[in-house]
Structures are given as C-alpha cells and as structure tokens.
C-alpha cells in the first residue's frame, strides 16, 4: 500500500521575462536551493522527476535531458512529465508515486520553462491542436479562454468587474513576493481599461510570458522524520482529464470544468476532507487568467459552485480574508512559466512552514490545497498538503 510522503525542501528563484541563464543553469540554481533548504546533498537524491510543458518553447528536443545534469540526475533514474500547464502539479504527483510506491526514498522534483526562446508563445500553443480540423482556425490560449470565460460568466451570471478584482488582488499580493515578475498596484478600473485580447479576457486578466524554475524535494516517512520535527505531508492527490476534443467533452458546456471537480474529489477523498471551504486554511489556485482562479476555487470547493464572484467581492480570498487564495501573487503576479507553475505547491509549503516572508498570511495554516490546469485545456491536477 501507499507509503506516506513528505515535502522536505523547496527551491525558489526569481521569475523573469527573459532569464540570461540556460535551462541547465536555471535548474541547477533551484536544485541547489532545494538541497540547501532540506539540508541534503545531491548524492542523497535517489531519483529525479522533471516537468516542463512544451519542448517547442525552448526549441530543445527532450529538454529534460539537458536539464538532468543540473538537477543532480546524472546516471540516476529520471522521468519527465509533460501535461502543459498542469505539469505544475502532475509532476509532483509523479514524484509522489515514486516515493509512495516504495521505489525511492528521496526524490527531487524539478519544473522549469524557458519561454523567452521563441518568437511567440501563442504560435507554439497553436501547435497543440489537431492539424486537420482545429489548427487552421488559429486557436491559441487567449482565444480558447475567451470562449471559456464567456461561457463561464454566462452560466453563473458573473461579471468582468469581478474578474478584474482577481487581477487587482493577485498583482497586489505579488508586491510582497521577492521572486515575482509582475507586481503591480492596480485598481479595478485599470484592469477594465486594459485592451481586450479575446472578449471578455483583457490584457490585465492574463498572466505574462515567463522564464523560471522551481524545485521540491520529496521524502518517505522515515527520512522525513529524521530531517525535520514538523514534516509537511502530501495528504491527497487527484487528476482528471476530459477529451482532447473540446467540442466533444463529457460536459459540452465550456463554463463548467467537470474534470477539475473529478480531480478535486479524488484529492479530498484521499485526504479525508469533507468540507474543503472549512477544512482548507490556504489555497494556491492556478490563475493564468483571472476567471480561471474563480472557476478553480469553485471546482476545489473553496466556495459554492457559481459563488466565486461573491468570494472575491466579500474579500474571502484576499490575503487577510477567511480563506486566502494566492497570497504569493499567483501566476498573474508572480509570473507564469507554464510547467514551473509548481510554485503554487512551493508557496503552500512555505505558508504551512511559516516561511513565506512578507507573503505569510496572518491565520494559522495547517492544510493547504493547490491545483494546476493544462493539457489541451482539459486536464486538472490537485494536491492537498498539510501537517499531521
């Protein structure tokens, strides 16, 4: 049966639009930081799990192999996960499996992305679609998300101003985050005045193009108890994927993410959480677009279905609210290096440890949840972590 798995260290670095370091150097930097945080050496690492979305961003085939040396993975078992944006959480889930299955005791999980190397990230995103039927239409992320946002706002009677508040909150939170790419002090009117990319999604509803990496070290129970008195356990994991044909999904309404509800249900069942809105103390929710944070808060049960508008209006998800969401700034404020959105998990860990610096929320955090969305806009991965 599954063994208990703990997070024993994280590695951070500043997110930037264009980092001068190569992928190998970026990965080395976060791996080094994580090892120092966990007080381990690279020889202690049994296996390396890497995650990165799309090789076409950096133009290197199997880019994880180039990153392996920097992660301390030379002549060790390495495995690379790739589910686009959701690699951010599905990669640590793969790492969790490495330890929970009993195969390895200490596993380094690295997520990285170098998006500055290509002329247009959105042109790359067009290449994920079917070449015969969908690619020629010219679909990319903002266009697809414009469709989804419209369906979502319509389904639950939400407004663009409520979306804008998420941007104000997250970019404002990022001001306290030393690793953030895009901290901004904004008003709702600023966001509303920014140009439309794909109605109803505006420029300030989106997250930037980013270079960056993150590392997490996972360990089995025995090792974790040796390393620390207060281990943070991975208590629940969940994944869900709908059909890659967005016109053929189980639920044809693009406004409701059935696959995200499926992923959240699994993670909460595993963690024994019955009422997430009460039992979860803190959440880092995947917010590449403002409405995605709202959709994901609902799918994760942090508010009732359709209640994300009220949640932001009433200040529940603000940093000093009853259930803070993305106090780090999220992808909106911290930056969105697709796979390295694993930062969401890192921040949950830092909040539980009380090491989040200026981003630390005032309430006690014992249980936190994070999620990531990706695949071909149809994959969600959820992870619940917490103290004993």
């Amino acid at each position: 049966m599954a063994r208990k798995v703990a997070i024993v260290g994280v590695g951070m670095q500043k997110f930037e639009f264009c980092k001068v370091e190569t992928i190998e150097e970026m990965v080395f930097d976060v791996a080094r930081n994580a090892l120092e945080d966990a007080r381990l050496s690279k020889d202690d690492i049994d296996a390396v799990v890497t995650g990165s979305a799309v090789d076409a961003f950096c133009g290197i085939v199997n880019s994880d192999k180039v990153a392996t040396d920097g992660a301390g993975g030379f002549l060790k078992p390495t495995m690379r996960n790739s589910t686009s944006g959701s690699s951010a959480v599905s990669t640590p889930i793969l790492g969790y499996n490495h330890v929970a299955s009993g195969m390895y005791d200490i596993v380094m999980v690295i997520c990285y992305e170098k998006m500055s190397e290509n002329a247009s990230a959105q042109a790359v995103f067009n290449t994920v679609y079917d070449e015969a039927y969908v690619r020629p239409i010219g679909l990319n992320v903002p266009i697809q998300c414009g469709l989804e946002a419209r369906a979502y706002l319509h389904r639950y009677g939400l407004t663009e101003r409520q979306m804008a508040k998420v941007s104000v909150k997250n970019r404002g939170n990022a001001i306290s985050n030393p690793y953030a790419q895009l901290p901004m002090k904004l008003t709702v009117d600023d966001v509303m005045a920014s140009p439309y990319l794909s109605w109803p999604v505006k420029l300030l509803d989106t997250s930037p193009v980013t270079d960056g990496a993150r590392a997490v070290i996972l360990a089995s129970e025995d090792v974790a108890r040796e390393l620390t008195d207060s281990p943070v356990w991975i208590r629940g994991t969940g994944r869900g994927a709908d059909s890659v044909w967005f016109m053929g999904r189980a639920n044809p309404d693009l406004g409701r993410l059935d696959y995200a509800y499926l992923a959240a249900r699994q993670a909460y069942e595993m963690a024994g959480i019955k009422d997430p809105a009460v039992e979860i103390d803190y959440a880092e929710v995947y917010d590449p677009f403002t409405f995605k944070e709202m959709q994901h808060c609902e799918a994760l049960g942090l508010c009732p279905e359709g209640g994300a508008g009220r949640m932001i209006d009433e200040g529940v998800s603000w940093k000093d609210g009853a259930l803070p969401v993305n106090a780090s700034g999220g992808l909106q404020g911290e930056g969105n290096p697709i796979g390295a959105g694993m930062s969401r998990l890192n921040w949950c860990y830092l909040q539980i440890q009380g090491k989040a610096g200026d981003c630390q929320v005032s309430k006690d955090v014992n249980t936190a949840v994070c999620n990531a969305w990706g695949g071909m806009y149809q994959y969600n991965a959820v992870m619940v972590i917490g103290r004993d």
Partner: protein, 394 residues
C-alpha cells in the same frame, strides 16, 4: 501466496512495425493497439482506472503529442492520468508505480509513433537529432558535419568505433549480429534470408555503420494493461509478472558521454536485478529483447546487462550464443534491425515481445520455455536514457 501489489501485465496489443499505415492517423494506430489489448485482457474501457502515454513532441510534429492520444486509450475522465515526454518504457515504469500505490487499478500504458508523417530522407531525423543538443555548446558541432543527413550515422559511427576498439569486435561480427536479427524477423514473416555478405555489401553510411547495421524507422503502436496480482485473478489471461524495473539517464553533453559503452543500461539493470532478486543474469535470464538501434549497440547492451562477459563477446557471436537456439536468445523477434525502429515505442514493444514469449503465444514459438525474460530500451542519441524490465512467469 497472492501478494496484493505485485504488478503484472494482463493484456497487450500491438500494431507491429512495418505494416501498412497509409491512411491510418496516429490516433487510430493507438486506438487499434488499445482495442487489441482490451480484447486480449477481456475487458472493456469502462474498467480502465488510469492511463499513461509517453511520446516525444518533435518526432511527431505536435506540441503536447502525449496529451493528444488520451482519447485513443480510453483515458477520458479517468482518475489516474499521466502524460510523459519520455521513451515509451517509462510509461510502463510510471504505470508500475501507480499500481504499487493503488493495487485496485487497471492501468493502461501506451505509446505510438508515426515517423512516416515526417518528410525527407530518413524522415528528417538529423534535424531532430541536432535539436536535442544543448544549443550553445553542442549544437554548433552539427554544422561541421558535411552532409547534415548523415549526422545520425556519424554519431553512431563514433560510438561503434569506440566499441570495436575496446572489444576487438570486427565489422564482420557486427554484420553477423545484423543478419541474426534480420533473419529472426524474416523467419516470422517468411521473407528470404539475408547473408553476412549482403550486410557488408550494403551502402556505407559512416564507417563502420552500414545501411543494414542501422535500424530504419517504422510506424508502430503498443498498449499494455497492468494491474496487481490480486486483481489479475479476476481476468481470463494468465498474468505476466513485472518482477523488476530500473531506469537511468546519462548526461546529454556530447563531450561528456561515454562512447562504446552504456553506463545508463548498467545502472538500470542493477536496479531491476536487485528488485527481481537476480544475482547471475547470464544464468537466470532465459531470453532478452534489447535495443539494437545499431548492430554494435546490441552488443554494448548485452554486456552492460551482464548477459555476457565483455571479454567473451567475440566468442559468443562466433558460437551463435545469442541465436534463437543459443543459451540466451537475444532479439528473437528481430529487434529494431529486423522489424524497424519505432523510436519511443520500441521499448514498450520489447516488453510486449517478452511477455508474449513468457505466455507462449508468440507468432513464432521458440522450442524453449521462457520463465524469466528481460526487455531493454535505449533512447538513442536523442535521449541518453536506458530502461530495463524483468518479466517472469511466476
């Protein structure tokens, strides 16, 4: 004693390399393989609990190529879903760990490759090969190769030379390896036999690599269904146990790689043998399917896997030690040289071949009983990884 979480293969489906795939989309290839695997296991897709695919974007010309295959393997709205950008055999390893974590799962692991969709000589593989290198220090070297298309052969030849130097294996012996594999494949399909002279007369790509000592790319798909021993009892097929797995990655920098040897295979084998409790692989393994991307790589891998002492390789080839009727038959299926190189599917195909032979339902049944078999995969110069799986009847 039924152990709850011993992992086994309960179904396999293959679209063999080399078949006619014109007009069959790569999603369909994988669908056919999965349909066969489900039929083989006697289940329907509703029972599938999770799905893992592995793929490489650049060889398929599509970003997130692994996600694209989800519908073909019955993975829609299933809980345990993972997408790897790896050699196909890693999907088996990830599936293995999934079942170890949750023994109640029926897991589908799959890979598909359709190189015939790429254009150019040898399907433009040289472009992919140069793109896998670090762009600052390594990739510029590719520009120094006079004919870009021969890039793969140049890398392969450097490796082959280093191996020949160390092992005293001659070109003729390499040709014998190729002949063995090509004829193994021909025996199954009834094609005429190839002679050593034919191999030595085939065009030289980069000395000592020849047209017939380097595997050619072929379209293929492979799906395996895994579950725990406890679950397997409810299914009709006799399970094949995965008793050991191991994988390892070498550095990607050209200058730092080991030529003419395979430390990644050695590490992977070490881990797999330890799990499977194998101390003397040369005695305990009945049959092996190893990566023979180039003829000399089969020998490098056989040595690294401990199936043959490096000092005895020459003797073993001369004695036919790796032949169909030899003490350790290697690549009875024909391997990559005989059947074609399906890149990331090749590793998973090796596993399927070994599983079939353990079950005794291979197309060309060998006279010997196979109780413990070994499958090995190597990622080639584009991906310096090795994977090893030890399969057993009990």
């Amino acid at each position: 004693m039924v152990m709850e979480n011993r992992v086994c293969i309960v179904g396999l489906g293959v679209v063999e390399p080399g078949g006619n795939t014109r007009g069959v989309a790569h999603k369909e290839l994988l669908f056919h393989a999965t349909r066969r695997a489900l039929d083989d296991a006697g289940i329907e897709r509703e029972l599938i609990g999770g799905a893992i695919t592995a793929s490489s974007d650049f060889t398929e010309g599509r970003s997130l190529s692994n996600q694209y295959t989800l519908d073909s393997i019955g993975g829609v709205m299933k809980p345990c879903d993972l997408r790897l950008a790896e050699d196909g055999m890693h999907a088996l390893f990830a599936g293995y760990m999934e079942v170890m974590v949750d023994p109640g799962l029926l897991m589908v692991v799959a890979a598909v490759q359709k190189p015939s969709e790429r254009v150019g000589r040898r399907n433009g593989f040289h472009k992919i090969l140069s793109a896998c290198l670090d762009p600052i220090y390594n990739r510029p070297i590719c520009n120094t190769v006079p004919h870009a298309e021969s890039l793969e052969a140049v890398f392969g030849a450097m490796d082959a030379r280093a191996y020949m130097e160390r092992s005293r294996v001659t070109e003729e012996l390499l040709a014998r390896v190729a002949v063995k594999n090509i004829n193994n494949a021909a025996a199954a399909s009834g094609e005429p036999a190839t002679a050593v002279e034919d191999v030595l007369a085939s065009s030289e790509l980069a000395w000592p690599l020849r047209d017939l000592t380097m595997a050619r790319e072929k379209d293929a798909a492979c799906t395996l269904i895994l579950t725990s021993e406890k679950n397997a009892g409810k299914l009709r097929k006799e399970p094949v146990f995965i008793s050991g797995v191991g994988w390892s990655t070498e550095g990607s920098h050209l200058a730092a790689r080991s030529y003419g040897m395979s430390p990644d295979t050695q590490k992977a084998a070490h881990q797999a043998y330890r799990m499977a409790g194998i101390r003397r692989p040369e005695k305990e393994i009945d049959l092996a399917e190893v990566s023979d991307w180039y003829a000399h790589r089969e020998l490098i891998h056989v040595e690294a896997l401990g199936l043959c002492d490096p000092g005895e390789t020459v003797l073993r080839i001369e004695d036919g030690g790796f032949d169909r009727e030899g003490p350790i038959p290697v690549n009875v299926s024909g391997g990559l040289l005989g059947k074609g190189n399906s890149l990331i599917v090749s590793g998973l195909l090796r596993v399927a071949e070994v599983a079939r032979r353990i079950r005794g339902d291979a197309v060309d049944v060998t006279s010997r009983k196979v109780c413990v078999g070994l499958a090995h995969s190597w990622g080639g110069f584009i991906s310096p990884t090795a994977g090893v799986a030890v399969l057993s009847k009990w």
